[in-house]
């Protein structure tokens, strides 16, 4: 357990980067690249949510609210204040700073929300976070300076594959290292039995707020990348249903397993596309009455099957080998 394992993660990311660059030469077109980019953004969102829902076990339903803060703050900085352009190489550091500013703003909101609410548990916390997520969204909906209900438009397309991959790598590395540190152990203790954790002297509220803030920070980064990928930040893009989508990734991948979140973010993003185009081609080939719009049925069916036959998600609480968190025994 003493081996520093971040380099291993670096190797995987570098390998993925190189593979995509090679595939670009042989027909890996912009559509595939976009799906890869979107998947990586979801990796950031899912892994950061997993810190809150999985590792410290607090059920949050408002993750996209934090992403909205990141998206709007970083989008305002790059679009409204500095008018940065992705065609100027010197503007990229500015973009990175804007992203970090978005993350910090989201973290501050996370702390502000965390203190009063984290005393709540389970269902109650879920409802409160759901409410806060919607409040954040509605606030942006009513600020005319950032476009109000029309959304913040004309955001420069800074989110390239390399940038998103780099941030996804940082997110996974930081959260995994925290999960495996003494802090992470304390968080897991809180998840497993909060009363017992409190009794052995773990500052449960403090850890919850910290986890909330950190999860919100990376959600803010993810939101910023999302806005700079789609070139628009729109209040309805951060609604409850999008938070649920990220939540599904966390649960399908396995609550508490970062590897699971990474895999599920990729699998579910790709699956949606595959089902849609596969079903429409099937329809045009065979004339079946089931078209591309039926993808949601199959998608939901797959999720139900996963939950029925692998309640713990694809990975359970396990991590990919070489980055093992010691497994907990099944209860």
């Amino acid at each position: 357990m003493k081996i520093p394992r971040t380099p291993w993660l670096l190797v995987v990311a570098a390998g993925f980067w190189a593979a995509v660059q090679l595939l670009r030469l042989v027909g890996f077109n912009d559509y595939y690249l976009f799906i890869a980019n979107l998947s990586l953004v979801y990796v950031i969102l899912a892994v950061s949510l997993n810190l809150i829902n999985g590792i410290i076990g607090q059920f949050s339903l408002g993750h996209m609210g934090f992403a909205a803060v990141g998206a709007y703050v970083s989008g305002s900085i790059t679009t409204l204040i500095f008018k940065l352009s992705p065609n100027v190489a010197a503007h990229y550091p500015g973009f990175v700073l804007a992203l970090v500013a978005g993350g910090v703003a989201a973290a501050l909101v996370g702390v502000a929300i965390g203190f009063p609410t984290l005393r709540l548990k389970g269902d109650y916390l879920a409802i409160v976070t759901l409410g806060f997520g919607e409040i954040i969204r509605t606030v942006f909906n009513n600020i005319d300076a950032v476009g109000g209900p029309r959304g913040l438009l004309g955001i420069p397309k800074f989110s390239t594959f390399t940038v998103i991959l780099a941030f996804a790598l940082i997110t996974v590395a930081v959260i995994r290292n925290i999960a495996e540190s003494a802090h992470g152990r304390n968080m897991i203790a809180i998840r497993e039995n909060e009363l017992a954790a409190d009794l052995v002297g773990i500052d449960t509220t403090g850890y919850k707020v910290k986890a909330f803030a950190l999860g919100a920070f990376f959600a803010g980064i993810g939101g910023g990348l999302y806005a700079h990928l789609l070139q628009i930040a729109h209040p309805t893009q951060f609604g409850f249903i999008y938070s649920v989508q990220v939540l599904i990734m966390v649960y399908a991948g396995g609550v508490g397993s970062l590897t699971g979140s990474v895999l599920a973010a990729f699998a579910l993003t790709i699956l949606t596309q595959l089902l849609k185009s596969g079903l429409s081609s099937l329809k045009s080939l065979t004339g079946l009455p089931i078209g591309g719009d039926w993808y949601m049925v199959l998608y939901a069916l797959l999720l139900i099957l996963i939950m029925l036959y692998r309640t713990e998600g694809l990975m359970g609480t396990r991590e990919a080998k070489l980055m093992v968190i010691p497994e907990e025994d099944d209860k």
């Binding site: 029309r150 789609l230 596309q273 081609s281």
Partner: protein
């Protein structure tokens, strides 16, 4: 059991993946269509799809375009900006479409527009009213057009109609403060009405989701207007009209295309009589394009076309007409042909202005005896 299931699921996925890589047919012109077929705006996406399909079918029946058959690839954007961007990239990169007709929701069109610009693939959005779709940040999006009139236009036409046809000299307006659409309409109504020489005696905002408008309406009635402009959607319009009539106002009401629902009369009853609204077209208009389209659409889909189907049909026809005139499927040539469009569409003879918005007349519909009756056509 578990293992069999996973194997079956995996096999199905692989099969789907293979199917989606199936070889393409013979030489044909591929046009992309986009609309929210699933999600909260699903009926909009369906109507849009039907409009697109009908137009393509007609062109193919007439022998296609540039000597080739036209193939429509219609994609679902779920009403989601991320999915919109994915669909746009897919249509352009995978399906190699030469042009795109889509989509309904402005935020999704806004995600698609920069992609159309990037690859030089022309697009027409049938129903996205946000001005930034075609003209953003003081810059024209060269390859992006739209087939519907934008919000300012309806307010302008509504004011002209109230001033010229109804002979009103004093007007009042009420709108939803949290909704850009109603706010925009009312502001343009006010500005045009004043510039025509009229007077706006009351300009009242109500909060989103309100059901009691008495405070605002009392002020309006006391100001003594000849006409009240209500830019809300039909459900709010019905409530406002009822309360306005209760307060004793008997004059005409004017509004925008948010009124266009059969439910307006059901909810509003007597109160919405003597009401007029601007719309994209009226199915009672006697122009042959309109009658022809309404007949064909009704025969094929068993229901009268709504505004979304009509505008999608128009957008597709304008696009195919432009490709025909361009004599090429090259993006730049289609774009130039689009700029020179002068097409007799169902929703009126259409040309494009410098910001790629359509220049066409609006139909005025009157609520009379519980029916929507075509009143007149007003040019801006």
């Amino acid at each position: 059991m578990k293992r069999t299931l996973s194997i079956v699921a995996l096999a199905l996925l692989v099969a789907l993946a293979l199917v989606s890589c199936a070889p393409k047919g013979p030489a044909e012109i591929v046009i992309g269509g986009v609309g929210p077929v699933s999600g909260e705006a699903a009926t909009f996406g369906k109507s849009t799809q039907e409009g697109c399909e009908l137009a393509v079918e007609e062109w193919n029946a007439k022998g296609g375009l540039l000597g080739q058959k036209i193939k429509l690839v219609y994609e679902d954007d779920k009403g989601d900006a991320a999915e919109g961007a994915a669909v746009w990239t897919k249509l352009i990169q995978q399906d190699k479409v030469v042009a795109i007709v889509g989509t309904v929701m402005s935020k999704v069109s806004l995600a698609g527009a920069p992609i159309s610009e990037q690859y030089g693939v022309p697009m027409i959005s049938p129903t996205s009213t946000n001005p930034s779709v075609t003209f953003s940040d003081g810059k024209l999006r060269d390859f992006v057009f739209r087939a519907c009139f934008i919000d300012p236009f309806q307010g302008t036409v509504g004011a002209k109609f109230a001033y010229d046809d109804l002979g009103a000299r004093k007007a009042a307006a009420i709108f939803d403060v949290g909704n850009d659409y109603t706010k925009g309409l009312s502001e343009f109504f006010r500005d045009t009405f004043v510039s025509l020489g009229g007077e706006v005696v009351a300009f009242e905002a109500h909060p989103t989701g309100a059901t009691d408008f008495k405070a605002q309406l009392t002020k309006i009635v006391q100001a003594g207007p000849d006409v009240v402009y209500i830019s809300d959607y039909y459900n709010d319009v019905a409530l406002i009209a009822k309360q306005l009539r209760e307060l004793g106002f008997t004059g005409p009401l004017v509004g925008g295309d948010g009124w266009d629902s059969p439910d307006l009369v059901k909810l509003g009853g007597e109160a919405v009589e003597n009401g007029f609204f601007t719309n994209h077209y009226s199915k009672d208009d006697t122009r042959p394009e309109v009658q022809d389209f309404v007949r064909k659409y009704t025969a094929k889909y068993g229901a009268a076309p709504d505004a979304l189907a009509t505008l999608a049909y128009d957008a597709m026809n304008i696009m195919l007409d432009a490709i025909g005139r361009a004599g090429s499927t090259e993006g730049v040539k289609i774009r130039d042909a689009l700029k020179a469009t002068d097409f007799a569409a169902v929703s009126g003879r259409t040309t494009f202005d410098a910001q790629h918005n359509p220049v066409k007349a609006a139909a005025i519909i009157e609520i009379k005896g519980g029916q929507q009756v075509y009143r007149t056509t007003v040019a801006p």
